[in-house]
């Protein structure tokens, strides 16, 4: 892959999407030996408001650090889906939370939907790890970083006591996305 691959994690402020982007970029840059840049944009609110985190992955030097044509988009809220899907490329990956995004963005996308937040809450056991469930799913759907690299990057970011929880969240997201895609 010599070209840029652009990923956008979007949702509401406080959902941990910036962290999800950081971990994806760390997986690429530190564990997989690629080039990566992560950036974000958010409003002045600490919680709520549309929030996005962008990751550019490439084999060569990355100049422009923001997205130009998005290859893969995660939207955890309807507002984010409406606001951030305009530059998703044709044939790009669109991952949405099926409970929260009812009005699916129109376009020729590879859309994958499953209840991401509900999976975190009811199957993993804590809603707070929804971002890691989403990350696992994005790793599965994009293939831009290795599963091993991403897992290492997740574990390097979380406190000891929450390692198992996050491991489970990542794995669950990965599997659900694979199943939903099939």
């Amino acid at each position: 892959m010599s070209q840029r691959y652009e990923i956008r994690f979007s949702g509401a402020g406080g959902q941990g999407l910036i962290l999800a982007g950081v971990i994806m970029a760390e997986a690429a840059s530190i564990y997989d030996g690629k080039q990566a840049v992560q950036s974000q944009s958010y409003g002045p609110e600490a919680r709520g408001g549309a929030s996005k985190s962008e990751v550019i992955v490439s084999d060569t030097m990355i100049d422009y650090p923001k997205a130009t044509v998005v290859d893969a988009l995660l939207a955890l809220t309807q507002e984010a889906a409406d606001k951030y899907s305009h530059d998703l490329k044709e044939g790009g990956v669109l991952l949405i939370d099926s409970d929260l995004v009812k009005n699916i963005p129109k376009g020729n996308f590879n859309t994958v939907a499953f209840p991401i937040i509900n999976t975190a809450k009811n199957e993993v056991g804590r809603e707070i790890v929804a971002n890691i469930v989403a990350l696992g799913a994005m790793v599965a759907l994009t293939g831009v970083v290795t599963k091993e690299g991403a897992e290492k990057a997740v574990l390097a970011r979380v406190p000891e006591a929450f390692m198992e929880l996050n491991k489970k969240a990542f794995q669950m997201g990965y599997e659900k996305a694979m199943a939903a895609r099939a």
Binding site: V22, A25, S29, S39, Y42, Y64, K66, T68
Partner: protein, 377 residues
């Protein structure tokens, strides 16, 4: 031994650069989008016996770094537009009292509180003209996380070498984005310390110009006694209104930077050798420009990039030389024409200058620049 590698945010890299340069004091008042600089310093400084103080406001923060610097410490403060406005009175004080200090100012929208989380490049004029009176100004505008680390080290070096405040001004994008950084080993980057007096305390004068344009600076508490004031002062630091002396002193202070412009100014030239259109850009905007240059070249258009690393002193000579070679300049920036005015001044009408301005909190994207290249080529 393999070098230490990390995936760091720009602001974190600025703080790490300050520590590499030997900074032992941070006085600040947190403000978005610069807060992470203070956060890192508050964690790291106590570990090395340094001091971190959160002051009552930005003015107090600037005062605290001036005081700490006079005790011999290398000092840092970090802020953003509204804080930079508040600090101006004391930045002038640091200039006239010739006190080394480094100010990291992360550029967000303005004026006033503007757009706290949106990127901007609209403080570059404030870095030179914000405080009143003639005074030296050094301002660095890095474009990557690695460069933010390295330029913060260089800012400390310049502050110490020329006894003057130095500003490091990343835009919000550079300050908040994360990239891989390779930490230089100790000793790998040059670290400059201020010149200490070579005379005994009784003979010491803090502004003794017989030692050159940058007189040695004693540390308070080291046995040397001197007076510090914001008034025009004599060699001993006490106020004076002697006309010839004041004139000579004002000129000397500005000359510290003007006469050393080649030591201070750094820039990067990309694809300029045969360029007909030169983009002049800095900070994150220069990354959009580089992308646009690559696209233009693929389409057979001779475009190049002059990337400003040192905004003040402005690379006048280099821009003037380019003006004689290219057909047109394009100056994309996240303000309404601050660098553009400087480029016009240096180009002296020899080449057209076309600005691209954005102040809506969105970055200037490569497509916008490419479009302009095609329009003016």
């Amino acid at each position: 031994m393999a070098k230490k590698v990390a995936f760091l945010q720009g602001n974190e890299a600025a703080a790490q650069g300050a520590l590499y340069a030997g900074c032992t004091f941070f006085g600040g008042y947190p403000i978005t989008p610069s807060t992470e600089v203070a956060e890192v310093m508050s964690v790291e400084l106590p570990k090395i016996g340094g001091k971190f103080i959160q002051m009552e406001d930005e003015i107090g923060a600037m005062a605290s770094v001036i005081g700490a610097s006079l005790t011999g410490a290398k000092v840092l403060t970090a802020t953003s537009g509204p804080g930079l406005s508040l600090k101006q009175e004391l930045i002038g004080y640091a200039c006239i009292a010739e006190t080394p200090c480094v100010i990291v100012n992360v550029m967000r929208g303005g004026p006033s509180t503007g757009m706290p989380t949106g990127p901007s490049q609209s403080d570059v004029m404030c870095a030179k003209w914000g405080t009143h009176g003639d005074h030296p100004a050094i301002c660095l505008t890095p474009a990557s996380v690695q460069e933010l680390f390295e330029e913060t080290v260089r800012a400390f070096n310049l502050a110490e070498k020329y006894r003057t405040p130095v500003m490091v001004m990343p835009d919000e994008i550079v300050a908040h984005m994360r990239e891989r950084i390779v930490f230089p080993d100790p000793g790998e980057l040059e670290v400059i310390n201020r010149t200490a007096p070579s005379v005994p305390p009784a003979e010491y004068k803090p502004y003794d110009t017989s030692f050159g344009d940058v007189p040695p600076l004693a540390a308070f508490g080291s046995g040397y006694r001197f007076h510090v004031t914001g008034l025009n002062k004599g060699q001993d630091g006490f106020p004076t209104t002697k006309a010839a002396w004041v004139q000579a002193e004002e000129e000397r202070q500005v000359r510290k930077v003007d006469a050393n412009i080649d030591d201070i100014v750094q820039f990067e030239e990309y694809e300029l050798a045969d360029a007909e259109v030169a983009i002049v850009a800095y900070g994150s905007t220069s990354r959009s420009a580089r992308f646009a240059v690559n696209e233009a070249r693929k389409q057979g258009i001779k475009a190049g990039l002059f990337r400003i690393k040192t905004f003040w002193p402005f690379p006048e000579k280099q821009i003037a030389a380019l003006a004689g070679k290219v057909k047109a300049f394009i100056t994309p920036e996240m303000n309404l024409g601050m660098c553009t005015g400087e480029v016009k001044r240096c180009a002296e009408g020899k080449a057209a200058v076309h600005g691209i301005f954005r102040v809506d909190g969105e970055p200037i994207n490569p497509g916008q620049i490419l479009e302009k290249i095609k329009e003016v080529k």
